[in-house]
Each structure stands twice: as C-alpha cells, then as structure tokens.
Amino acid sequence: MKGLRHPFLQGAIVIAVGFVIFKYVIGYVLPVFGIASAPVPASVVFQYTLTVLVGVLLYMSAEESRWEKFREPLKRTMVDHDRRRLRGVLMVAIPALVGWLAYQNVKPSFGAPATLRSVHPAPPNQITYRGLPIELRGLENPLRHSGTLEEHVAVGRAIYTKNCVPCHGDRLDGDGHFAGAFNPIPADFTAPGTLPQLTESFVFWRIAKGGPGLPQEGAPWNSAMPAWENILEQDEIWATIIYLYEQSGASPRTWEAEGEEGAEE
C-alpha cells in the first residue's frame, strides 16, 4: 500500500470520492435512507468538484516537499523514456476527451436550454385587483384580525380543494394530478424555500396575478398558474393563504422594517 501514501494518488482519490458523493451519494443513496433528495444538477456537480480540485491543488502546493512529490509523476510521464507508451496513450486520450466534452456541449438536443429564473421576483409596491389598487407594501392578511382561525382554515381548505389540488396536490407538495404536464412545475408549499420565506402579501400577489402577472425576471415563463383575481374574491384568497400556512406548518415572513420606518417619518 506504499502507493497510497503518494500525494498524487491521494489527491486523485479525494477528487474522485468528492465527485462520487456529489453525483451519486446525494442523489441516489440518501433517498434509500429516507432522506428527501434528488439527483444534483450537472452545473452544481461541476462547481463542487471544481472546488474540491482547487482545494487539493492548494493543499499539495502549500508545502515545498509535498509539491515536489506531487508533481513528480507528472514530470516523469512527460519526460521519462520508460513511460513513452503511457505518454502516447495520454496524448491521444486527452485531446479525445476534450473533443468529446466539446461535442457533448454543442450537440443539438431536444431539451430546453438551462434557464435562470427568479422564482420569487421582486413584487411591485402596488397592484390592482380587478382594477382597484392595493398597496402591497406593509399589507397584512386582514383575516388575521377578524373571525376565528378555524373558520378561515375551513373556508381556505374548501377553496384549495376545489381550485388548487389538481396542480399543487392534496399534500401541498406541488404534486397534483396535472403537475407532470407543466414546466415549471407547480410550487411545493412544503419546501423551506417557499412559504416561510415570503410575506402573506407576496403570496397574495402571486395568487391574484398568477403566471400572466409575473415580471420580466420571472421569465422565461410559461407558467400555467391562472390569475385568480378573476375567479376568487379577495377574502377567499386571504383565507386560502391562511389555510396554506396552517396546513404546511410554516409561518409567514413579517414586515420587518415597519417599526423603524414609522419612527423615522
């Protein structure tokens, strides 16, 4: 096992182990243990592996003797007479690999190109609801100040079941009957990145205006979400929002700077 002590081999092993973890362990092994996970996008695997590669190189070159040892096999492969076969193989293999990667990158494919879309774009300060202006900034859910929670949840549940379940699913996880047909797929309300990160007014805006009301940075967009302002009353939307938060167990983000702003004015 003397070879294992060689820095070059150690480095190669670390990179390989990192790659396997990022590419396979996170995506395929974790779900076996019941941990929610999914295959990691290629861009992220690349980013992570590159970070590990940089880390390995930094470690190897941080000390003079280690760096010498690390480079030794590379040097020998490049100049030694007894490695000329390996050299020959590499001289064919490396360009071939580069070529293959380039081909992979440029070959035409049927998949839509990778897109960058802001899932939670900046809301406008004001929206119109059936033509009536509503100030979004500082807006709170009016139902939180009237009636009982149970009532609102019951109303919201009924509305959700009638209107939202086909896409967002009966478990609020965005996995309704039609979900598979959409791109982007319906929002998963149980994910930590959705409801808990948003104010209720933001959710109200998204429900009221739907896909058609998304600003530029929400594109490229072919969201199937309807603009519910045409179908639901304001209070019905607010009740649905209460139901969403209650059912998912999340609590809405609250208006933070409010107090300070009020004091300054």
Binding site: V44, L58, A114, S118, A191
Partner: protein
C-alpha cells in the same frame, strides 16, 4: 450666491496656471455651466463598438479604481511611516516612501480619467449633466479645491521626505501625510454625494423640481450617503493593502538580489495582512448599506437581493471563496520560511477541509441552473437536499467559520517562530483553543437553529454569530500579545525564501479585489435600473436597460485589465526611478 460664483471662478482661473491636469478638470466643470441652452438629451458615441454608456462606464470605473488607489495607498503609507517613527525601524520609513513615489504617477492617472469622465458625461449625457451641475455646482468647486490641496500636500509629502527626516520636522512631515488623507477623504465624500444622490434622492424631489431649487445639503446628505462613505473608506483600506501586495509581488518576481526579495516579500506580507484584516469588517458596512437601501425603497432592495440581481451574489460568493482560499494559501506557503512552523503543518489539511466545505456551502445557489430533465427530477429549481444549504442560515454559518479559520491561520503564522516563556503559557494556549471552540459552537448553534425560527429572528441570529467571532478574535489576540511577551525565538523569519507561486497568489488576490469592486459597483449602480436619478429623472436613452451579468462582467474585466495595464506601468516606472537613485549613489 452670485458673489460666491465669481469668487470660485476667480480661484479656478488661478489654478489653471498650476498644473495641466487641474486645468483640464476645471475647464470641464466650467464648460457645461455656460451651456445651459436647449439641446439634445444625449450625445452620440460609437468608437470601438462601444456605446455612450460603455464609454461612461469605463471612464467612471477607471477613475474610481485610481481614486481608490490614491486614497487607499496613502492610508497605508501614513500608518507605515508612523510605525517607522514610533517603532524606530528604518525599513518601515523606506517602505512608506516607496509607496508615495507610486502615488505621484497614480495621481495624474486619477485626474486624467476624471477629466475623461467629465468630458464623456457632459458630451454624452448633456441634459443630465446640466441637471447635476444645477444641484451640485458649489460642491464641484469645493471638489476642485480639495483636489488641489491634496495634490499639493502630496508633492510636499514626497519631495520633503528626505529634507524633513529628523526630529520634530519628521513629525510635521507625518502630519502632512495625515492631511493628505484628510483631503482625499473629503474628495471621496463629495464624489459619493453625487452618486448616492442618483440612487437615493431626497424624498421630496419630483421630476418637476428645478435643480436650482434643491438645497445642496439635502442632496448631499441623502439616505445612502453615510453608509457608502463608510463602506468605501473601509474598502479603500482593503484595496490599498491589495495593491501594495500586488506591487510587492511584481517587484519580488522581477528582482535579482536576495536582499530585494526579502524586502518585497515582507512588503507583500504586510499589504496582504492589512487587506485581509480590513476585509473582515467590510461586511458590516455592507450590511448597513443594504439596510439603508431597503429602507429607502423596498423595491430597490428586493431588486438587489431577490430580483434580477440575485445571481450577482452567487458570483460575489464565488469571488469571496477565492479570496479566502487564496489568502489562506499565501499564509500557509509563508510558513515554509518560518522556523518552528513545521509543528502546525498537520493541521493545515483540516483547516483546508473547513474552507473547502465552507466555499461549497457559501456558493451553493438557492435556485440552481438546471435543464428541463434535472428540474423535473428535483421538483423545482430548488434541490430538496442541497436547498438547505442555499439559504441565509447556512451561508452565514459557512462564512463565519471561514473567517475563524483564516484568523487561525494568522495566529499560527504569528506564533510559529515563538516559544512563550510566561508561566501560564500552557493554560493560555488551552484558553485560546477553548475560545475558538466556543465561537465555532455558537456559530453552528445559531446556524442550525436558524432553520426553525421566523425570518426576523433568523436575521437577528447573524448578529450573534458575528459577535461571537469578533469577540473571539479580540480575546485571542489579547492572550496572544500577553503570551508573546519576552518569548524565545525559534529562529528568524527568512524573508525572501518564498516560492514564486505565493507571489502569484498575491497577484490573484489583488485582481480579485479589484474585480469585486467593479462587480459591487455594478450592483449599486444597476439597481437604479432605468433611472438617472431614482424615480426622479428617467433614463430615456437606448441604454436605459440594465445589462445582464455576462455583458456586465465582460465590461468589468475590460476595466480591470486596463487598470492593471496602467498600474503595471506605474510599478515599472517606480522601479525605474529607484534604479536612477541607486546609480546616482554609485557614481
């Protein structure tokens, strides 16, 4: 008002005789004031395929970079000179003077780019320029006065260096250096008021307000002025240190004697130390600025953090990751030249592990770039498992641990060639380690707990995390200073015995800092979107749109490349001037 104007114009005439650059600047300020006649809103520009905004962009960015150079480096020079005066070590004095020599050339570069910027603004954006001068004219005159005071002080400071090198005269000379910084800071404050006015004009301002009726002070002291001032002042210290590091690296790599190498190795270390040290406090100033932006306009704040600019922060995270890795790497290589540092070698791999994991977490995007199939598999653009790493709690934890690790590197570096003799040395070391452990535990605790509380509470947690880290840094340094008292040496640091790659690391640090400045400037300027003055004066030119990150990054790279091209020339001139001094001495 009228009387003041004549006085200022009279003074301006007097300056015209003083220096070429000043005349250029003063003329450029004066011309548009006379030109308040109806004309087109925008001028045409089409050289090298650049449009009018690109032209102003390049000029403004380069002016800013050189201005940061001539503001950051004097700060550095004055501190170094003080160390020389009060510590009595001659080599510090020599170092301070070496920097001041670079400043002379950098100074005219600043003025030249400033003049180019003014020309571009007044010819390409004439209507807007007239508007700005209508509000800010008096402050522009003061700016010119200060610029003059600064340059004259610089001449005194540099040319008087050898004449006033002894006793009280030396102290006076040092005060000159402080004055130089005071003028420079005032110049920066004035310039900051113009650009922050564009971002956050006084709330009572409307599109119909005549510029002449705007009170100057209310325009200057706008909502984001102070936060930008503080942020830029700190960033200038960082930048000054990084540029010094780059200069040292350049001279190290091109020097031919061991003596020179030792000098520049030491200089590079000092510059890097200051840059990284100031970098650690910079996020607080940035946080304050961000808060003010949110308070000024929530829409602007969301555009910056959550809107179309949110990806910019991933790039920023990537750059900061590089800064951390490179900064630590430089220190680790440096341990090779310190006798006694071998005992710390085994720990480096663990520290590196923390850093690599930190960078991975820090740069994990919340919304991932993925193709259609990958999105379908993930159930959205957020990864069900890695998504946990994409939120604030994880990032704060990662960056705080990286700061702690970097500090640990510095501490090892400091202690490497010392053997403490105080009786409580063992207890002190244990205490230091305990402090590190406590800080790391606090950071981790609040990081994990952040997932289970609401956003407001979570934002409050970041304060605890940072407080724990800073308290640890102060506490550990305190112990360390007490412990090193009378410590035995394990051998002198062998300055100059550094492999060249360490110097390339310094160069990369400087380039990264500079590029980061350009990127953050783009963010600050870009969140105005299609406004010259936010929600007051609309940009109606064809370039009113805000470019995507890619084109913006290309522009930033062009600017940084021009900057380093010119800086390289300045460095080379610095070496040339020195050579002539040596040759005179030989003769």
């Amino acid at each position: 008002m009228r009387v003041q104007q004549t006085v200022a114009v009279g003074t301006a005439k007097r300056w015209l005789k003083r220096g070429a650059w000043l005349s250029v600047l003063a003329l450029a300020v004066a011309v548009p004031l006379l030109a308040q006649v109806p004309g087109p809103d925008y001028g045409e520009f089409g050289i090298f395929g650049l449009d009018r905004r690109d032209a102003v962009w390049i000029a403004a960015q380069l002016h800013l970079l050189f201005a940061a150079f001539v503001l950051g480096v004097p700060m550095f020079a004055v501190v170094i000179e003080a160390i020389g005066i009060f510590g009595g070590d001659k080599k510090y004095d020599k170092l301070a003077k070496e920097f001041t020599r670079l400043l002379l050339v950098a100074y005219s570069a600043t003025a030249i780019w400033g003049a180019i910027l003014v020309f571009f603004l007044s010819t390409l954006y004439p209507r807007f320029w007239v508007y700005l001068t209508g509000i800010f004219a008096p402050s522009m005159w003061l700016y010119a006065v200060m610029f003059f005071a600064e340059s004259f002080t610089l001449y005194l400071y540099y040319y008087g260096w050898d004449a006033w090198s002894k006793g009280a005269a030396k102290k006076v000379h040092w005060v000159l250096g402080i004055l130089l910084n005071v003028w420079g800071t005032i110049v920066m404050l004035i310039a900051n008021s113009w650009l922050t006015f564009m971002m956050s004009p006084p709330p009572e301002l409307t599109a119909d307000t005549a510029p002449q009726s705007v009170k100057l002070w209310s325009a200057i002291a706008n909502a984001t002025w102070m936060p930008i001032n503080i942020h830029r002042l700190l960033a200038n210290v960082v930048f000054g240190g990084a540029i010094v590091g780059a200069y040292a690296a350049y001279r190290f790599l091109t020097s031919e004697t061991d003596e020179e190498r030792a000098h520049y190795d030491w200089m590079g270390y000092t510059g890097n130390f200051i840059a990284i040290g100031a970098l650690i406090v910079l996020p607080f100033a940035g946080y304050w600025l961000g808060r003010e932006i949110y308070e000024f306009s929530q829409q602007m704040g969301i555009t910056m953090m959550g809107g179309f600019m949110s990806w910019l922060w991933i790039i920023q995270a990537f750059l900061i990751g590089i800064l951390f890795l490179t900064g630590n790497y430089y220190l680790w290589i440096g341990m090779g030249r310190i006798p006694g540092a071998e005992r710390f070698q085994p720990y480096i791999k663990y520290m590196l592990l923390v850093l690599v994991i930190g960078v991975i977490v820090w740069a994990t995007p919340n919304t991932m770039i993925a193709d259609r199939d990958e999105i379908a598999a993930m159930g959205g653009q957020q990864h069900p498992f890695l998504g946990v790493l994409g939120v604030m709690s994880a990032k704060n934890t990662a960056v705080n641990l990286m700061i702690l690790t970097t500090f640990l590197s510095f501490l090892m570096y400091r202690q490497a060639n010392k053997r403490p003799v105080v009786s409580w040395a063992k207890a002190g070391t244990v205490l230091q380690f305990a402090a590190f452990a406590v800080a790391a535990a606090v950071v981790l605790f609040f990081g994990i707990r952040g997932y289970f509380v609401t956003a407001i509470v979570r934002i409050g947690f970041s304060v605890y995390q940072v407080a724990a880290v800073l308290a640890t840094i102060v506490f550990v340094i305190g112990i360390d200073v007490a412990m090193s008292r009378g410590a035995e040496s394990r051998g002198e640091i062998q300055w100059g015995k550094m492999p060249p790659r360490s110097q390339y690391a310094l160069l990369i640090l400087a380039v990264t800092f500079t590029w980061l400045m350009g990127l953050m400037g783009f963010a600050r300027s870009g969140i105005r979107q299609h406004w010259h003055v936010y929600e007051v004066i609309r940009d109606t030119s064809e370039q009113a749109f805000t470019p995507a990150l890619g084109p913006a990054a290309t522009m930033i790279s062009i600017c940084v490349l021009i900057f380093f091209g010119l800086v390289g020339m300045i460095f080379w001139l610095g070496g040339l001037a020195e050579k002539s001094v040596y040759e005179e001495k030989d003769a």
